[in-house]
Structures are given as structure tokens and as C-alpha cells.
């Protein structure tokens, strides 16, 4: 213990010998500018470092200039509207960035700290200010700013790419199907990522129509590639054999063949063949793991069109596909959608198929456009709770159909 104290004493002596600086030298040649000003801003004392930085003689400043006289005009305004009031209100200000103007007009970015020295009874006497050279820091900040602007520019570019790519995965316009009304909507959960939802409606050779709506797992470029493959496979498979089960089986085969070492790529999808008749239409649907379609009858009743047991497409070599048939008459509307809406967060729980059915009950009966409009409103209400993209495709038989058949 004794030895430690002795050693410390020795250190102190050694330091004292080394540190020959007087208090005056410590002030004058401090590694920062230092000045004292009266409460009205007049410079009362300034150290050599600041004088050297600014190229002024002491006599130019002391008693003649105010601190704010040394600042750029922007700095003067800031001094009057921010720094000076803050000093009066809280007695000190730290880390204020300003620019001081040297005698030759050049500017120097600085960081300034100020404290108010008071009398024993708290009356303010003068202001002490330290001035730190902030040239390197300012240059670095400019670099950060530039980097941020670059990042923002790239973000905009990514958004543009995502929107363009998404557009190629959806039909630019839906075809005009005589005797039917068709409407669709695509809700983007994020403007920066391509979602994996897709839909289409297209004519088949025999006067019937093919349609599908599905959801590829995942997001981004990888999902977009699978979505593109899925969409074109569905359309070309339907050319050879439009039977819904055959189409989905073909898709399953293609997706299984495409599997490489990358992440598992699969989708849920409902494929349908639409046959328009004199007094309505018949829909033959095949589904692989996709949420049930929503049927809104002309009498205001609503129900799900279930295809239970259909398996995800693209995982198993022989996925089970389940088919069903729906008959629509005047005033009936049928809607396919992806699970973004039923999976949306509402507080601690998720919006559900039950909630969606109840919601459909409040809007039925309605047209295809009415269903899509209601979905748009619902998605807006669910807001940020909708974490995934959502597609909706609605087909309706008008009440007093105009027939071209």
C-alpha cells in the first residue's frame, strides 16, 4: 500500500516536471479556441489559438467586436434565435455547429460550447465559449449526407424496378367476357418488393374462359421468377388440356422439375374454367391449397366454395387437386382472393376467414366491381396489419344480363 502511494507521488513529480505549462499557456495555446464575452456579446478575452485560426490581432476583437460578428449570416441568425435564448434559459449550450468567418473572409466550420459564469447569487456575469475545429467532421458529415442521398436514390430505383416487374406478372387489362362482369385488384404490402400473388383471365379455344388466382410463397426476385413460370405454365397448360385438374397437375410437375438446391418454391392456386350460358355461368374449379372462393348470392346470402384437401402445388411429386363446380345466376358474384387479407393482423389476432365471410354478408348482394371496391376499403381499414400482398379477382353475372351469345 505504502509503495503504491510512493510510486504515485513520484509520478506526480515527474508529470509536474514535464508539464511546465503555466495556466496562461494552457489558455493561450489550448487545442481549441476560447473566448469570454460580456452578456451583450462583446468579446472581453480571446485565446491565441482562435486568433491564429481567424487571422485577427487581439486588438481587433477585444472590446470591439461581438462574438456574433465572427459568424456567417446564417450563424448570426441562429445565434440570435437559438443559441442566445438557450444560454439565457438554461445557462449552457453544447455542441452547436456554426461557421466562423476569418479576417480574410474564409469560413471555418466549428463546434461551439458555451457556459454562463454567474456571481455567487446567481446573476449572470459573462459567457465562456470554447470553439472546436470541425472541418474534418463537417467533411465527414457531407460524405454521410451524400451517401444517404445515394441510398435514397437507389431506394427509388428499387421501387421502380419492383413496380415494373410486378406489372409484368399481372394482366395489363382484364378481357371483356361477354355476359359477365369481371374486376380485380392487387394490393402491394411493400412498394420495394415484388409480391408473389398473381391472377389472370383468358379465352380458351372452345369459347370457354380460363382463370386463375394464386400465391407463390416468398417475396422478391426469386418469388417473381417462380410467379412468372407459374403464370405462363398455367396459360400454356390450359391450351393443351383446359381440364382444371390436368392444368394444376402440369403445374405441379413443372414446379417440381424446377426445384434446385435453393429454397423450396411452391404456390397455392385456384384454376377455373368458366362457361358462360344464357342465364348465367358454370365455373369448374380446381384448387391446390388455396383459400376457399367466396360466393355472394343475389339474395344476399354468402358462402365459401370449399375445395378441401387440395395440396400445395410444387412440393409433392403427385399433389392432390380437388375440384368443385359452381353455378352462378343473375346477380350472383364469385370472388377468389389470396390469404394476405385473412392473415392480416388486427391487434393480437389475425383477420380470419370467419371475419371475411361476415364482412361479405354486409356487402351482398353486389357486383364484381362492388366486391373489389369493398376489398379495397377493407384492406385500407386493416392498414399496416396487411403484411402480405393481396390479390382479389371477382366474377359476376349481371342482374339483367346483356347477352352476345
Amino acid at each position: 500500500m505504502c509503495e503504491t502511494w510512493n510510486s504515485s507521488d513520484n509520478d506526480n513529480e515527474m508529470f509536474s516536471a514535464l508539464l511546465e505549462d503555466s495556466a496562461e499557456d494552457l489558455y493561450e495555446n489550448a487545442p481549441c479556441g476560447y473566448l469570454s464575452t460580456l452578456l451583450d456579446g462583446k468579446i472581453a478575452k480571446v485565446n491565441g489559438t482562435l486568433l491564429r485560426w481567424l487571422g485577427y490581432a487581439r486588438a481587433d476583437l477585444v472590446g470591439r467586436r461581438r462574438f456574433s460578428d465572427l459568424l456567417s449570416v446564417g450563424g448570426k441568425l441562429y445565434h440570435e434565435t437559438h443559441l442566445s435564448p438557450l444560454l439565457r434559459m438554461q445557462g449552457e449550450v453544447r455542441g452547436v455547429a456554426l461557421e466562423v468567418v476569418a479576417a480574410d473572409g474564409t469560413r471555418m466550420p466549428v463546434l461551439v460550447n458555451c457556459t454562463v459564469k454567474t456571481t455567487e447569487d446567481g446573476e449572470p456575469l459573462l459567457i465562456r465559449t470554447t470553439v472546436f475545429d470541425a472541418r474534418d467532421r463537417r467533411a465527414y458529415e457531407q460524405e454521410l449526407l451524400r451517401a444517404r442521398q445515394k441510398a435514397e436514390g437507389e431506394r427509388d430505383e428499387i421501387r421502380r424496378l419492383a413496380i415494373t416487374l410486378q406489372r409484368t406478372l399481372l394482366p395489363p387489362v382484364l378481357p371483356d367476357v361477354p355476359g359477365m362482369e369481371i374486376a380485380a385488384h392487387y394490393h402491394h404490402a411493400s412498394p420495394f418488393e415484388v409480391g408473389g400473388d398473381f391472377y389472370d383471365v383468358f379465352p380458351l379455344a372452345d369459347g370457354r374462359w380460363g382463370l386463375f388466382l394464386g400465391d407463390v410463397c416468398g417475396k422478391g426476385a426469386g418469388a417473381a421468377a417462380v410467379t412468372s413460370l407459374t403464370r405462363y405454365t398455367l396459360r400454356s397448360a390450359a391450351v393443351y388440356d383446359p381440364d382444371p385438374t390436368a392444368v394444376l397437375t402440369n403445374l405441379n410437375t413443372v414446379l417440381n422439375q424446377e426445384r434446385d438446391d435453393g429454397p423450396l418454391r411452391f404456390c397455392t392456386v385456384t384454376f377455373g374454367v368458366l362457361e358462360v350460358e344464357a342465364d348465367g355461368c358454370t365455373l369448374t374449379l380446381a384448387a391446390g391449397g388455396h383459400p376457399p372462393g367466396l360466393l355472394l348470392r343475389a339474395d344476399g346470402t354468402v358462402e365459401y366454395v370449399e375445395t378441401p384437401g387440395g395440396q400445395l402445388i410444387g412440393i409433392l411429386p403427385d399433389a392432390r387437386v380437388v375440384t368443385t363446380t359452381v353455378r352462378l345466376s343473375g346477380g350472383d358474384t364469385f370472388a377468389l382472393y389470396s390469404d394476405g387479407v385473412v392473415e392480416a393482423r388486427t391487434g393480437d389476432t389475425r383477420y380470419s376467414e370467419e371475419a371475411l365471410l361476415e364482412f361479405a354478408g354486409t356487402i351482398a348482394p353486389t357486383s364484381a366491381a362492388g366486391v373489389v371496391e369493398a376489398f379495397v376499403g377493407l384492406l385500407a381499414r386493416l392498414g399496416e396489419g396487411v403484411e402480405d400482398d393481396t390479390a382479389v379477382l371477382a366474377l359476376g353475372v349481371p342482374q339483367s344480363p346483356h347477352r352476345d351469345l
Partner: protein, 285 residues
């Protein structure tokens, strides 16, 4: 802040109103209940704390109404809108909103710096609310124009705006939730009490532009109420010739020059400022 404790914040829960001007503008009322009503409006830069040194003296004789302009202090930042607050009329209509909700008649409006012109616009729009105006270090136009000397060139103001745009006035994104009253991070609230002059750079930029590029010279003649002009002997933002201009263009106005330095006499010379305001408010009644 002790002086404030005697007053009350006008919150919707107390008044039964919705998001009204009183909570939007963080209105605080202190002082003598039967005294004349004095509304204190802060300028560009800080918030209602700017008045803290004159409030005790004023509150002895007057009912003092303090508020924060939208975008400043504890105002409701979500009410801020770049379009509405790109003219001083937006601020003036806020002043009239809160004067209606407080049912003020014949009150005294004390406006500091840019708020002086906000007061001019408010009395011009509705002369029934304010019977007197006190303009503290006012300027109807900061930029020189022909023979008119506002004290700044257009380039000077551009420099200020550039300074604000290069974001050097010290703001951290973490301040936004604090000012907006983020309940999840109450610990940040204590930081704010030392930051009366901290403003979102976007808000500061718009307010600076609105302030320093406005031209209200033609509005001065629309003032028909008794007006006191309070200026400092040494003020780089509102120099004496600007005070003289305002005095010459508001019919029947009184001009008092305080032996003070800077743009904020309510802080640099609080006794003299409070005394001048009180004399004007009380003597002629």
C-alpha cells in the same frame, strides 16, 4: 418552469373539446384571473419558454396566455402541414382559433419577432379579439427591397436556409417521437426539457422560409388598434431603422427602444420588457 405550475394546460379532457386549438397549440393560462388578458406569442427558434423571465411580473397584474406555434415546443406536431404554415396567415388563423376558444375580447397580443407580424395579420382579420398590440422586435420584411432596408440581402437569407437545410442546427430523429409524445419512450421526455429550441429540421426550414421571406409592409396600415413597438438598441435581426419603419406605418403607434442587446429583450432585459408591456396594458385602461 415553476411559474408555470400555477397555471393550467388546456387539454381536451378538461374542456370536453376534441383536438382543438388549445391542445394543438399547447395553450397555458397563468396569472391574475380578473386582470386584462395578455397573449404572449413566441417567434422563430424556440417556444413559449422564451417568456419565462417576464411571466411572473405580468402574471401579478394580468391573465397571461402562453402557447407554442404548431411545429414548436410541445405543440401537436401531427397538426403541422407544410402548406398551411408556408404563410404567416396559417399561424394568424391559429391565433384567432385559440382566441375564439378562450373567448377573448379586447385582449392584448404580444408578438415577438415573426409573431409581431402574425399579430398584425390577426387583428387585421378580426379586430374584435385583440384591442391592443405589442410588437417586440418586429420586422415587416427582413430582406432589403429598393430603398427599404430590412437588414438582410436575399443571399443572406438563402445562406440561413442553406444552413438549416444542411441540418447543422442539431436535431436527432429520436426527438420526433418525444415531441409527438411517444408514450412508449417516456425517458426521452426528460431530454426535451433542456431543448426549448429544438425543432424538426423540416419544420424549421419551412418556418424560416415563411419568416424571413415574408413581406408584411402593406399590412401595417391595416392595424387600427393601439400599438406598442418594443425594440432593442442593438439588434442585428431587427435594426432600429426597421423599428422606425413599423412605427411610421402603424398610425398612432408608440415606439420604445430598450437599452438592450440582441433580438430577445424578454430574455436579455426582462424587467424593462415586462415594465414596458405592463405600462402599455394598464395605463390607458
Amino acid at each position: 418552469m415553476e411559474e408555470w405550475a400555477a397555471g393550467y394546460h388546456c387539454h381536451p379532457s378538461e374542456t370536453g373539446w376534441g383536438m382543438d386549438a388549445l391542445s394543438r397549440n399547447n395553450v397555458v393560462v397563468v396569472g391574475h384571473h380578473d386582470g386584462p388578458v395578455v397573449v404572449l406569442a413566441h417567434g422563430f427558434g424556440c417556444d413559449q419558454n422564451m417568456w419565462r423571465l417576464v411571466v411572473p411580473a405580468l402574471a401579478e397584474k394580468c391573465r397571461v396566455v402562453l402557447f407554442d406555434h404548431v411545429g414548436a415546443g410541445q405543440s401537436d406536431l401531427s397538426s403541422w402541414d407544410a402548406q398551411r404554415y408556408s404563410t404567416l396567415d396559417g399561424y394568424a388563423s391559429d391565433v384567432l382559433d385559440l382566441s375564439r376558444e378562450l373567448d377573448l375580447r379586447d385582449a392584448v397580443f404580444v408578438g415577438h419577432s415573426v409573431s409581431a407580424m402574425i399579430g398584425v395579420l390577426a387583428v387585421a382579420a378580426d379586430p374584435t379579439r385583440f384591442g391592443r398590440l405589442v410588437l417586440v422586435t418586429p420586422s415587416p420584411r427582413y430582406v432589403d427591397d429598393g430603398d427599404y432596408r430590412g437588414g438582410f440581402s436575399a443571399a443572406d437569407i438563402d445562406e440561413l436556409l442553406d444552413s438549416l437545410e444542411s441540418n447543422y442546427l442539431g436535431w436527432s430523429a429520436t426527438m420526433a417521437p418525444v415531441i409527438m409524445g411517444n408514450p412508449d419512450r417516456p425517458e426521452l421526455g426528460t431530454e426535451l426539457t433542456n431543448s426549448f429550441c429544438r425543432t424538426d429540421p423540416e419544420v424549421a426550414r419551412v418556418f424560416a422560409r415563411t419568416t424571413f421571406l415574408s413581406d408584411n409592409r402593406a399590412d401595417l396600415a391595416r392595424v387600427t388598434v393601439p400599438t406598442l413597438i418594443l425594440e432593442c438598441a442593438h439588434d442585428v435581426i431587427a435594426p432600429p431603422e426597421v423599428g422606425a419603419y413599423v412605427h411610421a406605418h402603424i398610425p398612432g403607434s408608440t415606439r420604445v427602444t430598450l437599452d438592450a442587446t440582441g433580438h430577445c429583450p424578454q430574455l436579455s432585459a426582462p424587467e424593462a420588457t415586462a415594465e414596458a408591456i405592463l405600462r402599455f396594458v394598464l395605463d390607458q385602461r
